[in-house]
């Protein structure tokens, strides 16, 4: 039940408990209760819109920064990750397997602004050994939503 509710909310955060109950053939009050429970338990962390910023004038740029860092004894990567994630410019922080350690998504108004943030803020953290900045040039799909969806219903006029 929880899994099914979450799957629907992940697809469309605007669905009401009643909408979900109809789709699942469940009781609306029960669904509402489960959602509240999951919000309280921190399973559901928030509801957001998926926005195609390129459709607006106020385009923002973002970049994926690969950070190589020196982990601290005992604390490992936690301390540095917590420091990095506190910057308002930082959208997400992931600990990675492979050739670098932290994957940091940074957003800003201009390429310049993002570059300066990396140079002045991230690079200067003592534990950071190196950074590699990859600017996002175009978004095709965001949070499971296709932003350049050109699919049309090409099913023929086959009615029966």
């Amino acid at each position: 039940m929880d899994q099914k509710i979450l799957k629907l909310l992940y697809q469309n955060g605007k669905l009401t408990a009643e909408d979900i109950a109809t789709r699942l053939g469940a009781d609306a009050t029960a669904v509402a209760d489960r959602i509240k429970e999951m919000e309280k338990a921190g399973i559901i962390r928030g509801y957001k819109a998926v926005i195609d910023w390129e459709k607006l004038d106020s385009v923002y740029v973002s970049a994926i920064i690969e950070l190589k860092v020196t982990p601290k004894a005992e604390l490992g990567f936690e301390e540095i990750a917590e420091k990095v994630m506190k910057y308002p410019e930082v959208e997400s922080v992931y600990l990675m397997s492979g050739t670098y350690d932290l994957n940091v998504v940074v957003k800003g108004k201009t390429f310049q602004q993002v570059a300066m943030f990396v140079a002045k803020e991230l690079s200067t953290i003592p534990a950071v050994q190196s950074t590699a900045t990859h600017f996002v040039l175009r978004r095709y799909k965001e949070s499971d939503v296709e932003l350049i969806n050109t699919d049309t219903d090409d099913r023929g006029n086959f009615w029966l």
Binding site: R23, D153, F158, L160
Partner: protein, 390 residues
Amino acid sequence: MDYEKLLSPVVREMKPSGIRKFFDIAAQMENVISLGVGEPDFPTPWQVRSAGIHSLEKGKTKYSSNAGMLPLREEIARYMKRKYDLSYCGETEVLVTVGGSEAIDLCLRAVLSFGDEVIIPQPSYVCYEPMTTLAGGVPVIIETKAEDDFKLTPQQLTAAITDKTKALILPYPCNPTGGIMERADLEAIAQVLKDKNILVISDEIYSELTFGKRHVSIASIDGMRERTVVVNGFSKNFSMTGWRLGFACGPKEILSQITKIHQFAIMCAPTTSQYAAIEALRNCDDAVAAMIEEYDMRRRLMVDGFNRIGLTCREPSGAFYAFPCIASTGLTSEEFCERLLYAKEVAVVPGTAFGKGGEGYIRASYCYSTEHIQEAIRRMGEFVTELTCK
């Protein structure tokens, strides 16, 4: 040329679907929202497409054996065992056809002589009647009832059987009603047929698409295997309509005969599709389950929506159609559909397209996104309100 003289009277008198014109109008309207299409909106599962592509890359583009590639037929036999507890020999009791409809056509042509009767429950898929007529047979229509959940009852069947009856077409899960036949229903039908020399052509093309209850094939009921050809295919269950692939399973005495007709008329089903189909049968349980889950949600949304706007809609148990009753509007099915189309630009199919017994109903497909379904029902709600206010 005197085409009147040239063409067979049987063909000339075959009615093109009476609502063809109406569909053409709908197709030309710009903002029309359709609930008309009777095919899945999901693309064929990727691994199935990939298997088709791979076979092309390897240059597997020749004819297959007439009955279909043996590995596919054997896979079909395994699938029928696994899913419906039916045992068929892949080599002698399975025929791969071009869609399920070809298999139905073959069965009818194999058993019918001029004037033989075929019992057809309606509302049901539109091809049974003309195919019967083309094969020289006489369609005998049984109108299934909403109060029976559109099931075929043993009483109706008994009353329809004459000494000319050669075949019964059993179209469940049913397009357009969404009705299914459960084990007990089939056992009652089997009781009527067990000492008769009548072939059951069981069109089970929607067999995977049942909700809550698993599909039961009549061939799995005691004494029915020997008198049944099970017709199934890949179009609906695996979202493979354009691949044109179906199959028939039945006793070898019948299969060997229908394979002859297939051999002369069709040669063999498309080879690329056959390679893809093997993958569908082997590795697509998860993909099919995901599609069913999505259909199930849309089904509930649609049934709830119709009931909300005042069109009584029973819960369909199978296929992907809702079949709400529109009698409360005082309009006939065709009037309802035509006026709805012009007033709100929503296209649904009148129940009468599937037989006279469909009067008072419309068919709405839920092979559409939930947003699409909701918008269509919103517009239909306005339409119904405006009708009742006048």
